[in-house]
């Protein structure tokens, strides 16, 4: 494996290290605070799921009612974890791909703190009863302009880096990054203005809030996740991306299809008729870009002859995320046909699809990138491969269980809801067993993310391994490593001095 030894331009490695160092603080801030919020969101998800079948849990305090816990759970998951993980990914990937050091790290860091303060304020706002009640826009209305301004201060530098990049060739990941950078303010600003500022029919506002949810997932989180996958797969395996044309097809089909999705949640409501039908069709068609991307990434990884696909934590999580994306696309096809849509509209199923998109797809890809980036920006290797495998499998089983229980339970629940002769309480009791299952599954995810957060905090405190070798998922040491004999980087530096 290490028979052919190549020497690369030392300046390249130096440039990469310089870029990593310039972004160390903002990237680590987004990843660690994101992981912290993720744990909070998962615990809130556990509590709100518990409340949904056992209303006496946590007593009868107003802040602990299902409505507030559930809104807090979803909004913290989105803005606390998913957006922050995406920010970390965007600024690091864009700097690396444009070969530009970040010159605005302090400003990004400050904006990141503002973002976190706004989230904290929003969380207490929801729990104390000040929520707007709009599903993914539930923070008190004062919060969203702050979030938008912090976003601009975080992400605009990446757009500028892209503008002043060297060389003409644009890598696949950069397309997706640029799309995400542009899509977030568009989707976020237009939806919030329509819902909170302009006078409009309340029903249309509800429809816009559903479009916002789909837009945030398909136009912001999905492109960032796909971008990370397109970076990691060729980077770690050293192979070219399977098919450049397929990559282009996947990108443009996503960009053409995704903006139409979302309105199908209002099917049957008195809104202009084409909206729900187009929303349902677009969500069905998401399978096309999902297939193109997943096939491209998975073929790149799996046709690798080296052991990278088995041993790399980044690739393992990326493959998990690609599987999640495929499942999201296939389920989207089945759950949005007009027969089933009536059953999924107001039941647990929609929640299951949200969790599949955010955790099963986006977060798995984000974890993959985090496992790749953190050792580079901290100059320390991950401490324990057991932590990583536990994080992977607990996450995988947990999210699979949440999604399975929510979707199955939701279908039964939806069927019972649509039976106009049966009492409404029947619908809740049909879903009950599945709600209990969901609660248990959140425990798995909570455990997974406690491990992940501890691991990440240790890395943030620079307590990682000071080794020249990466932490891989294979067993034991190798007699010969492609990276040469293992050494302590500080000793190397000392020896040189």
């Amino acid at each position: 494996m290490s028979a052919t030894v190549q020497n690369s331009d030392p300046k390249d490695a130096k440039l990469r290290a310089d870029i990593d160092r310039s972004l160390r603080h903002p990237v680590m801030f987004f990843f660690t605070s994101g992981a912290l919020w993720l744990l909070v969101a998962v615990l809130l998800g556990f509590a709100s799921s518990f409340k949904s079948h056992s209303p006496d849990f946590l007593g009868d305090a107003a802040w602990a009612t299902t409505g507030r816990l559930s809104l807090a759970h979803q909004n913290i998951l989105i803005y606390g974890w998913a957006c922050q993980a995406a920010f970390g990914a965007i600024i690091w990937l864009m700097a690396r791909l444009c070969r530009k050091e970040s010159k605005n790290s302090i400003l990004i860091l400050v904006a990141g703190h503002v973002w976190n303060l706004a989230i904290t304020f929003g969380l207490f706002g929801i729990l104390l009863g000040g929520s707007t009640g709009v599903t993914w826009m539930a923070f008190p209305t004062a919060v969203w302009p702050v979030l938008l301004i912090s976003y601009i201060l975080i992400a605009i530098w990446s757009a500028i880096q892209f503008q002043v990049r060297e060389g003409g060739h644009i890598f696949v990941s950069q397309w997706y990054l640029l799309a995400a950078i542009i899509a977030f303010p568009w989707v976020f600003f237009s939806s919030h203005v329509f819902v909170f500022v302009l006078d409009g029919h309340p029903l249309m506002k509800a429809a816009v809030s559903e479009w916002y949810r789909a837009g945030l997932v398909f136009l912001f989180l999905a492109p960032v996740a796909i971008s990370a996958a397109y970076y990691l797969a060729p980077k770690v395996t050293g192979r070219p991306v399977h098919s450049y044309h397929l990559a282009m097809f996947g990108f443009w089909s996503l960009m053409a299809i995704a903006p139409w999705a979302g309105f199908q949640k209002l099917a049957g409501a008195p809104i202009p008729r084409f909206l729900p039908y187009i929303g349902a069709a677009a969500t069905i068609l998401f399978l096309i870009p999902a297939l193109a991307v997943a096939v491209n990434i998975l073929r790149t990884i799996l046709q690798d002859e080296t052991s990278a696909s088995r041993n790399s934590p980044s690739l393992r999580f990326t493959m998990g995320g690609m599987a999640g994306m495929l499942i999201l696309g296939v389920l989207g096809l089945f759950l949005n046909t007009s027969g089933t849509l009536a059953m999924t509209q107001f039941s647990l199923t929609g929640y299951g699809m949200d969790i599949l998109a955010i955790y099963g797809f986006f977060s798995m890809c984000a974890f993959g990138l985090i496992y790749f980036v953190v050792p580079r920006v901290t100059r320390r290797e991950w401490l324990s491969k057991r932590f990583i495998t536990s994080h992977f499998f607990l996450s995988l089983y947990g999210v699979a269980a949440v999604v399975l229980f929510s979707i199955m339970g939701g279908l039964f629940q939806g069927q019972a809801q649509n039976d106009s002769n049966a009492p409404w309480a029947d619908a809740a009791s049909f879903g009950r067993a599945y709600a209990v299952g969901t609660t248990l599954a959140w425990l798995f995810i909570a455990f997974a993310n406690t491990i992940f957060l501890s691991h990440l905090l240790l890395m943030w405190a620079r307590l990682g391994r000071r080794s020249t070798h990466p932490t891989l998922l294979d067993s034991g040491h190798h007699a010969s490593s492609p990276h040469g004999p293992e050494g302590d980087i500080d000793e190397l530096q000392a020896a040189k001095a």
């Binding site: 290490s2 030894v5 190549q6 020497n7 331009d9 030392p10 390249d12 990469r16 290290a17 160092r21 791909l97 070969r99 060297e166 060389g167 644009i170 890598f171 696949v172 060729p234 980077k235 395996t237 050293g238 192979r239 070219p240 991306v241 399977h242 098919s243 450049y244 044309h245 049957g268 008195p270 202009p272 008729r273 729900p276 039908y277 187009i278 349902a280 069709a281 068609l285 399978l287 096309i288 297939l291 193109a292 790149t300 696309g329 046909t337 009536a342 100059r379 649509n418 039976d419 080794s467 020249t468 990466p470 492609p482 990276h483 040469g484 004999p485 050494g487 980087i489 190397l492 040189k496």
Partner: protein
């Protein structure tokens, strides 16, 4: 992409696989992680598998079918705002009505039974003008002689009979036996659906006609002369207000079970 490629520096994040052991001495520990990184390749030109296009085609078909169900997507009329087909109709059709006014109900029920008579007397009850006398405007139907009318229906009629100023001479076969619950609406229909008399032949009255038919014995048609000889009466029985609410199952007035 060889080392001599002059454009190599222009591509993003290019790097080479290298042996860390050989370069430790050159690089600081700072680059220990980044030096392992491999070059980013992207220009794979592998063929795209056919099944992927097939799956995309299936997805397109399903999406198109859903869109097609929308019908007039861009019609903004009031109807188009409601997509009722998304929700399943669980009401099981119009609700079963179990009671109502006697006259319209009897006319409706009688019209069904009259379907058998319409072959000769016509759906509008005007006869054919040659062999079958009319029922609409016939004094035999509208007169105070429901007893005779019942006998004609149940026993049939033969011989000449004068109807609406014309003498008819043909044979009407017997329609009996008919239950009183079928006969009453039929006679009510003849008098109120085809004509405009305004009274109801009750089930009790019809029962009298059925009783007389059974006493007389089936198989023998009546003649006009026989009818005029003592049968030109109303069937006996308590008259019923046409607006009386009756039960559609029992044909008895609601809240008046027992017939008092």
């Amino acid at each position: 992409m060889s080392e001599q490629d002059p454009n190599a520096r222009l591509r993003p994040d290019l790097d080479e696989e290298m042996n860390v052991a050989e370069t430790h001495a050159v690089f600081e520990g700072a680059t220990a992680a980044t030096i392992r990184e491999r070059r980013l390749h992207e220009n794979g030109m592998e063929p795209v598998p056919l099944w992927l296009f097939l799956c995309a085609g299936i997805s397109l078909l399903v999406g198109g079918a859903v869109l097609g169900k929308g019908g007039a997507l861009f019609n903004y009329g009031q109807d188009s705002m409601w997509a009722n087909e998304w929700t399943e109709d669980t009401s099981g059709g119009p609700e079963e009505i179990t009671e109502g006014e006697v006259l319209p109900f009897f006319v409706k029920q009688g019209a069904k039974t009259y379907g058998k008579c319409a072959g000769c007397h016509g759906a509008d009850g005007k006869g054919d003008g040659a062999n079958y006398p009319p029922l609409a405007g016939s004094e035999w139907v509208t007169g105070e002689n429901t007893e005779a009318l019942g006998m004609i229906i149940l026993n049939g009629l033969s011989g000449p009979i004068e109807v609406a100023g014309k003498t008819w001479n043909s044979v009407m076969p017997a329609q009996g036996p008919i239950s009183a619950k079928d006969l009453a609406p039929l006679m009510t229909y003849l008098r109120n659906g085809l004509n405009d008399v305004g009274d109801v032949v009750t089930v009790e009255m019809a029962q009298k006609a059925v009783d007389a038919y059974e006493a007389r014995g089936p198989g023998k048609t009546v003649t006009a002369a026989e009818l005029q000889g003592g049968h030109m009466n109303l069937l006996s029985g308590e008259a019923m207000d046409p607006t009386t609410i009756i039960d559609f199952e029992t044909y008895q007035p609601v809240g008046n079970a027992g017939g008092n």
